[in-house]
Subunit: 323 residues, 2 copies
């Protein structure tokens, strides 16, 4: 570790994480940013392997993302899905015509024996992305949602098919015991000057990454600032089911609840916390957890919002570096 | 066999065969028509199993076929293919967005262990097709094109990717020795009152069907009229590379050449031949091969053309039945 090390590892889920990843990509040279994505949401569907968080990050960094929908590709069309419906196929997951090409190319390369890291690197290159995007692991980890009814749901069944309706009691990450972090992820941690946890769902986006065997140890070994941006603002999740999950898990549905989760689950791992201006009143309570905290605008509506939050996170991380 | 048996088995390749199959479907009750399709053109591409002849027949019978293009689905779009191209995928085969749903559903059901016959029955039902459409076999047969350069090409590589440019020296049907006719095909032959070979390419559409182990014997055992409609009219193939193949194989590029092929390769199998009006001058020469021949309009531009040719073929077959 040297003070001149500006290399950043960003840990990301889908939409919220991708926004900050885009901001960071505006602030950092390609050699200085590695975005590591959760793959716990990945699934096999209609014979193809779908990686929602990776694709969201890729599409966002490539500026291929659909700004109207907030997910998927720009200028998407749905002829495949309509034809699938006519033929009685499973249509609960909205696979766009353009999006389908991503899944087909990925599945073909995976079946030819390429690692997921290699496939994502190929897709990123074709999309013109110069910053590094990596899966957390090349081995499958599949998030399962434990529900009050006792049913165990594959994450996308819970998230998309059942619209997050079942009440959650916990999560399991099937396959995680035997999954290794991708080699690029571990190498990036070794080179890292700081680590930023993007505003993603702690339970289903960030926990799977941090709980991969060896990741927590590698982060500790890096001895660099590790900051986390709250995904909860004003008691609401900006995107996705995090707030509903927190209620069901009986965790305070606030940014403080998020900070408590991270501080409680990973004692001493984090060096700093980023609160939204709306949650300024929580700053003292978060700092009482041993987490130096900054307060800023974390709601990223414009590209300027994203680059500004990225700039503030980088400056905050720098300020936490050992002298 | 009884004189009252009006059950017809039609053997078909793609576009030309599908036209007559549609005509026959207008003339016959669902219980009285089984369309058996060549699967030698089938191939695995981008992780999905594609059955061009079966799909052409299904789309045509369902009135889902694209009349402008002459292949594929009506109101097709190409967003998947364009996205695939951007991602560096293999784009030589024009997979439409709607068409892709057919391949995805088929591949998923095949991988779940269903037979191709069962999958095609499912697709036909979803398309509202009441007549029976069957693959010639549930086991893969893959036509290989032998070329003058010595290269052996998978049929779709020859046909689509290489635009039929390589000069042909012959064909091999990989897997045919171990493929069995689909059980529905054999049952239909046992019940058949007549058999009609549609105007399809003799070498790559009809030969694979007739050369499946047991098919020729089953046709002979049926002891019913077997008539063939020439796919060559006025020295030209109405569709596809048949005429070019005949030149390269040094077979006269006429309907007589077609009749000679069938009479030579399958002695005594055929009971009648259907010539286009344009080829009336060939009637005597075809009949000299031992093939009673009728002359009629075989160029099927309109639905009326198709039903009329079907009517004439059925009447011709009836006229050839044993008293």
């Amino acid at each position: 570790m040297s003070e001149a090390n500006t290399s950043v590892v960003a840990l990301s889920g889908g939409v919220g994480g991708a926004k900050l990843a885009l901001g960071l990509s505006q602030q950092l040279d390609p050699a200085d940013l590695t975005v590591v994505c959760n793959t716990g949401d990945d699934f096999e569907h209609l014979g193809v392997t779908i990686c929602p968080d990776l694709d969201t990050v890729l599409y966002t960094l490539a500026d291929w993302n659909n700004k109207e929908l907030g997910w998927g590709q720009a200028e998407e069309s749905w002829q495949f899905l309509e034809a699938l419906r006519r033929l009685g196929g499973e249509d609960w997951f909205s696979l766009g015509d353009r999006d389908m090409a991503t899944h087909i190319v990925r599945t073909e390369l995976l079946e030819a024996g390429q690692s997921l890291s290699s496939v994502i690197a190929h897709l990123a290159t074709k999309m013109g992305i110069t910053h590094r995007v990596l899966p957390m692991s090349d081995e499958p980890v599949r998030t399962q949602v434990l529900t009050q009814s006792g049913e165990r749901l594959m994450f996308q069944h819970y998230f998309v098919r059942d619209r997050c309706e079942p009440a959650v009691t916990g999560f399991e990450f099937a396959g995680i015991e035997n999954a290794r972090p991708s080699s690029g992820f571990l190498e990036a941690l070794q080179r890292a000057g700081s680590i930023i946890v993007c505003p993603s769902n702690p339970f289903v986006s960030v926990d799977p990454i941090l709980r991969l065997p060896g990741v927590e140890q590698a982060i500790r070994a890096a001895e660099v600032p590790v900051i986390v941006v709250s995904n909860i603002v004003g008691g609401q999740a900006l995107k996705g089911p995090a707030a509903k999950m927190m209620t069901e898990l009986e965790i305070p549905m606030t940014a403080l609840g998020v900070a408590q989760h991270y501080a409680g689950q990973y004692p001493g791992l984090f060096s700093g916390f980023v609160l939204d201006s709306e949650d300024e009143a929580l700053q003292e309570a978060v700092e009482a957890l041993g987490l130096p905290t900054i307060v800023t605008n974390t709601v990223m509506l414009t590209l300027h919002d994203k680059t500004e939050l990225a700039r503030e996170c980088l400056a905050f991380a720098d300020s936490l570096k050992l002298p």
